[in-house]
């Protein structure tokens, strides 16, 4: 339960910080960074977080289902330019994947499994 409390607390702190910057960066992303910083600083004991974090992260894909179903409500919005939207989004997503993947592999400290 302490682990869940920590996650809630840092989510709350993240939301607070997010509100201070007019919601520009989402509270959850700021919460992630704050939790990371607190763990590095030794303020929070990582042992408490293992179980709840694992549970959430193992099921992360499920949490996207309602958001994805939202496409249902957006169909009218994209209908007019369906071709341009889909083609540019898909190709550009591939570009980002390949550029970031290849650059990091070339520049980074190599680590193979």
């Amino acid at each position: 339960m302490l682990g869940i409390f920590y996650l809630l607390l840092f989510y709350l702190l993240g939301n607070l910080l997010s509100a201070l910057m007019n919601g520009f960066v989402p509270g959850s992303v700021l919460g992630m960074l704050l939790l990371f910083a607190a763990l590095l600083a030794g303020v929070v004991n990582p042992a408490h977080l293992r179980k709840p974090a694992r549970f959430l992260l193992d099921n992360m894909m499920l949490f996207f289902v309602p958001v994805a179903v939202g496409l249902m409500a957006a169909y009218d919005l994209i209908r007019g330019h369906l071709g341009a939207i889909i083609v540019s989004l898909l190709l550009s997503t591939l570009v980002v994947l390949v550029v970031v993947g290849i650059m990091q592999q070339k520049l980074g400290r190599r680590r193979h499994d």
């Binding site: 996650l7 840092f10 007019n22 989402p26 509270g27 959850s28 992303v29 919460g31 960074l33 990371f36 763990l39 590095l40 990582p46 977080l49 974090a53 959430l56 992260l57 099921n59 992360m60 894909m61 499920l62 949490f63 996207f64 289902v65 309602p66 958001v67 994805a68 179903v69 939202g70 496409l71 249902m72 409500a73 957006a74 919005l77 994209i78 330019h81 071709g83 341009a84 939207i85 540019s88 989004l89 190709l91 550009s92 997503t93 591939l94 570009v95 980002v96 994947l97 390949v98 970031v100 993947g101 290849i102 650059m103 990091q104 520049l107 980074g108 400290r109 190599r110 680590r111 499994d113």
Partner: protein, 230 residues
């Protein structure tokens, strides 16, 4: 009586989780890329809602708790990042450089392709932040003349697509390094790419989480700059 149950929160939640588990089972049995659990769940749920005459608003409000869990799981990435700290050490500079390059390549490529296919300014501005996590993408889109609702669609499309084909594309491109795989998945497809990266491994997932934040901030700073140049 039955109608009341069909419109209850318990029904919406059971529907979401039940269909997701079914889709996951289907994927694990077949390992066929097109049976991506998220894509299958989305399609089946949309059909079920249409058949039952349930609108998206109602479905969405019945799934509030799942949206909440999504936020919690992003916070939990902070723990994963800590667990994987060894893989970040010594990679900081290359991570920053690679994500910056990805951010530029993503914004420029989507703008050029969309324009080439006849898209106007508002549409292009709506698509530019597609690889960025939704809240950042929406504020960037709004301040650069885009349509926020369209941007959130673009973010989901980039996320679902990258999550679906990402691991395969990276393999084809010869990217075997685990840090590089996670970084690419998070940079191209934000939390959706990261959720998929998590299924490959903990290092990939943690680095994906880091990439979401970096990509969001860099793209937000970059788009106003590129808009002046292009």
């Amino acid at each position: 009586m039955i109608r009341g149950i069909l419109h209850s929160e318990i029904f919406m939640l059971t529907l979401t989780i039940g269909i997701y588990l079914g889709a996951q089972y289907l994927y694990r049995r077949t390992h066929w890329a097109l049976f991506n659990p998220l894509l299958v769940s989305m399609a089946v749920i949309i059909v079920v809602l249409r058949l039952l005459g349930i609108g998206y608003e109602e479905y969405s409000s019945g799934n509030e708790i799942i949206n909440f869990m999504l936020g919690m799981s992003v916070v939990a990435l902070g723990y994963l990042l800590y667990e994987q700290i060894e893989n970040i050490r010594g990679n900081a500079l290359s991570i920053l450089t690679s994500v910056l390059a990805g951010s530029i390549a993503g914004v420029v490529s989507v703008a050029l392709i969309a324009r080439w296919l006849g898209a106007g300014d508002a549409l292009v501005a709506s698509l530019e932040p597609k690889s960025v996590t939704t809240p950042i993408a929406i504020s960037v889109s709004a301040s650069s003349g885009g349509i926020p609702a369209l941007t959130s669609v673009a973010v989901i499309v980039a996320g679902v697509f990258g999550g679906m084909v990402g691991p395969w594309v990276l393999r084809m491109a010869g990217v075997r390094d685990r840090v590089a795989q996670g970084l690419a998945m998070g940079a191209a497809s934000h939390a959706l790419g990261t959720a998929r990266a998590m299924e490959i491994g903990a290092i990939e997932g943690a680095i994906g989480g880091l990439a979401i934040g970096l990509m969001g901030v860099m793209t937000a700073l970059l788009i106003p700059l590129l808009d002046k140049l292009m």
